[in-house]
Structure formats: structure tokens, C-alpha cells
């Protein structure tokens, strides 16, 4: 990232090669149309290059920053094409979803990849798994629908056939529980 901020195109291409497949996977969950998902991905990298200056290494890891930009773009794209909400074929959310360990991030270059940083990262990852396990099934399902599939409160409510108010409070409770648990288990995550 430091080199991209300096305007190094080669570094930018390497960054693209290392991250694009993971990001496209994330976008495809929210925007299942392949062509539109690739358009979103294109916008993301154009933005990253132009906004690299605003990336603050003291605030976030490059990958979490990039993931946020990608998810925001995908959600914006869905919002834009509203009128035909995409709820037709949602992937099954089994309890095992969070445990799937095929992540690819291990091969990702990190700006801070000392052995200690790697250890802390492995620890934080385990903490997230533990804390997701503390959530009630309903809360976890709401969180997964919102995070992976980019559904709004209303869409989650109709997907689960549950009242909107319940969905909102399940999500609020899920976020609160997750936060408290992570603060307890992994203070490093802040």
C-alpha cells in the first residue's frame, strides 16, 4: 500500500493480482450477476488507485479496507438496480459456514508481516470464530445474510419470514454480543 500511495503502478498491479480473486468472491455473494460484479470490481480498483492517499495504515489493514470498499460498492450497485430485488437463489446458510477454512488470505502479502504480527492475526481469527459461536442461531443467521449477501433489514425480514422489528433487534444484539466478546477475548482487535 505504501508504494501504491507513492503512485507505483507495478505495485498496484501486484496488489490487484494478489487481491482481486478474493474480492470478486466477496462481491459475487452480494451481486451474483457475473458481468455486473466485474464492473463493481473495476470501480473498486479505479477508486483504490485514486483514493490511495486516503488510506490510513494506522486505522485499518489493507485487506479490511479493501473489503469494505468492495462491499459498499456492491451494495450501492444493488441499490441502484432496485426494482428487482435479488433474493431468488440464496446460498444455504449452514452452521458450518463460518468454520470453512478455505480463505486464501494466508497467501496475501501484508504490510506488517513480522512473525509476531502473524501470530496475533491467527489469534484474532480464532477469537472471531469463538465469538461468532457465542451468538444465538437467529442472530448469527441475520448477521450472515446481511454481511455475505448484502441484504437490508427488510429483505432479511422477508427472507426469514420474521417481523422487521425482531430482525433489527437480533442484528443489534448480534453486533453488541460480538463486540463485547471480542473486547474480552481479543483486546488487540480493539
Amino acid at each position: 500500500m505504501a508504494r501504491i500511495k507513492l503512485g507505483d503502478r507495478t505495485a498496484f498491479e501486484q496488489f490487484y493480482r494478489a487481491t482481486a480473486a478474493h474480492l470478486l468472491g466477496v462481491i459475487l455473494r452480494i451481486e451474483p450477476d457475473r458481468a455486473r460484479a466485474e464492473d463493481v470490481l473495476q470501480e473498486v480498483y479505479v477508486n483504490v488507485w485514486r483514493a490511495a492517499e486516503s488510506y490510513d495504515a494506522s486505522l485499518s489493514q489493507p485487506m479490511t479496507w479493501l473489503t469494505r470498499i468492495a462491499r459498499n460498492r456492491a451494495i450501492d450497485e444493488l441499490r441502484r438496480e432496485r426494482g428487482e430485488p435479488v433474493t431468488a437463489q440464496r446460498a444455504d446458510l449452514t452452521a458450518g459456514d463460518e468454520e470453512a477454512e478455505d480463505d486464501g488470505l494466508d497467501r496475501m502479502p501484508s504490510d506488517a508481516a513480522g512473525p509476531l504480527a502473524l501470530l496475533e492475526e491467527a489469534f484474532d481469527r480464532a477469537a472471531v470464530t469463538v465469538c461468532m459461536g457465542e451468538l444465538a442461531a437467529r442472530s448469527r443467521q441475520c448477521l450472515a445474510l446481511a454481511y455475505y449477501d448484502g441484504l437490508s433489514h427488510g429483505e432479511i425480514a422477508s427472507h426469514l419470514n420474521a417481523p422487521l422489528g425482531s430482525v433489527k433487534s437480533w442484528i443489534r444484539r448480534a453486533l453488541g454480543t460480538l463486540k463485547n466478546c471480542l473486547e474480552r477475548v481479543a483486546p488487540g482487535l480493539r
Binding site: 508504494r3 493480482r17 482481486a20 481469527r125
Partner: protein
């Protein structure tokens, strides 16, 4: 809405990162984000908590054309040249004539056995204006024996920062830039040069908090760049 209230800011940031903050509330939040440090920090914390959820998502390889499309949009000219090599012939020539006198003067004062110093002009970048600087060119002189580097702004009166500092970086041909040190305010700075400067492809000056980058890599805008040839 009072976004300054911590719990509200935290709740909004959580729903924003999760993606359930929608409609006008989402747009308002995005508008406020760049100016509110507290919001940015709350968002970053939630990215840390929720970001790992994205890890198990199966990757999907984009079509090869996608990179070409991105390249075509960002870099309309076909060549892909790192920025330090773009500081090229004509600029070098322009500055060379300007510094010949200086080099000559320095040479006359030196012992004949010592190799001449290398003069590097760090050209002002477009970011300088955004950082509120009226001028941001620097000239650096690397001693012939390679032990010392002296750098000063071309325009000492106009190249000034308030509550921030200039930091000098050695940029290797690959890998992250490495700090050479924070520059003295508004004057000449003499730095003892570390060994890694020998491999550097360029020098760069960025704007950092007082005392220098807290992270060890440039965090602020890069305002001046100069190619190094040894």
C-alpha cells in the same frame, strides 16, 4: 443526528460496516465520515471485527480483460513506468544545468581525491498543493563518500508546514520505502546515511505528523520525488 455521541457513532458504524445502514442514513453517514475521526475509528474497529467474516468466501478469478480495462481507464498511455523513472531526461537536463554551478562550487572546496557528491533534485508533486504547500521542491546532496546526505527546500520561505513535519524516504526498486529521517523545520538538514540508501532508486518527501510517520511507512501525501542514479 448527533454523530458525536459515542454509542450512536459506534452503532451506526457497526450497521454501516455490516451493510444494513441504508438509504438517506447511509448517504449521510458517508458524507460525514471523511471529517469525523471518531467515526473513522469506529468504522475501522468494526472492520477489524467483521472483516474476518469475509475470509472463508470462495475466491473467483476475474477475467483477464478486467485488469486491462482498469489499466486503460487509469493510465491512458500504454507504458507502465514506475513514477521514479518518469522523472526523466528533460527534467534531469533542466535541473542539471541549474545545479552544475553548485556542483562545481562544491568540487572546488573539496579534496581532489574524494569522488564528487551526487545532487538529487526532488521535484514537486501535484499532492503538494493539496497538502496546503505553496512550494515543495527539495535539493539533496549525497556526499561523495556516501556517508552524509544534506537536503534543503528549494524555496525555504514557501516550503513550510504547521504542526506537521516533512519526512525523507529512500525508495528501493522493490519493497516498501524506508525512512531516512524527519527534516528540520524550514532549513537545511544533514542526515547520516544508512547502508540501504546505496540500493535506493529514488528519494521521496512525505508530510507526516510531528516526529514522523507513526507506522514506519509514509502515511501522508508524497509532495516531492527525485530519482537516484548511482
Amino acid at each position: 443526528m448527533d454523530y458525536g455521541r459515542r454509542t450512536l457513532a459506534d452503532r451506526l458504524a457497526a450497521e454501516y460496516v455490516l451493510g444494513t445502514l441504508r438509504g438517506p442514513a447511509r448517504r449521510r453517514f458517508e458524507r460525514l465520515l471523511p471529517a469525523h475521526r471518531a467515526l473513522q475509528e469506529a468504522v475501522a474497529r468494526w472492520e477489524g471485527r467483521l472483516g474476518r467474516l469475509a475470509e472463508p468466501v470462495a475466491p473467483a478469478e476475474p477475467t483477464p480483460e478486467l485488469w486491462w480495462r482498469i489499466e486503460a481507464r487509469l493510465f491512458p498511455s500504454p507504458s507502465v513506468v514506475p513514477w521514479w523513472r518518469r522523472v526523466t531526461a528533460w527534467q534531469t537536463a533542466t535541473f542539471a544545468s541549474a545545479v552544475v554551478g553548485l556542483v562545481f562550487g562544491v568540487l572546488l572546496l573539496r579534496e581532489p581525491a574524494v569522488p564528487p557528491p551526487i545532487i538529487v533534485v526532488l521535484a514537486e508533486q501535484p499532492n503538494a498543493a493539496q497538502a496546503g504547500l505553496r512550494a515543495a521542491g527539495f535539493v539533496a546532496s549525497l556526499a561523495g563518500d556516501g556517508k552524509q546526505l544534506v537536503i534543503r527546500p528549494l524555496d525555504q520561505a514557501q516550503t513550510r508546514l504547521v504542526n506537521r513535519a516533512f519526512e525523507l524516504w529512500a525508495v528501493p526498486p522493490s519493497g516498501a520505502p524506508r525512512s531516512l529521517g524527519v527534516l528540520a523545520e524550514g532549513g537545511t538538514t544533514t542526515l547520516i546515511t544508512p547502508a540501504f540508501l546505496r540500493d535506493a532508486a529514488a528519494l521521496a518527501v512525505s508530510v507526516e505528523p510531528p516526529g514522523g510517520s507513526p507506522t514506519g511507512v509514509p502515511t501522508g501525501p508524497v509532495v516531492a520525488v527525485g530519482a537516484l542514479r548511482s
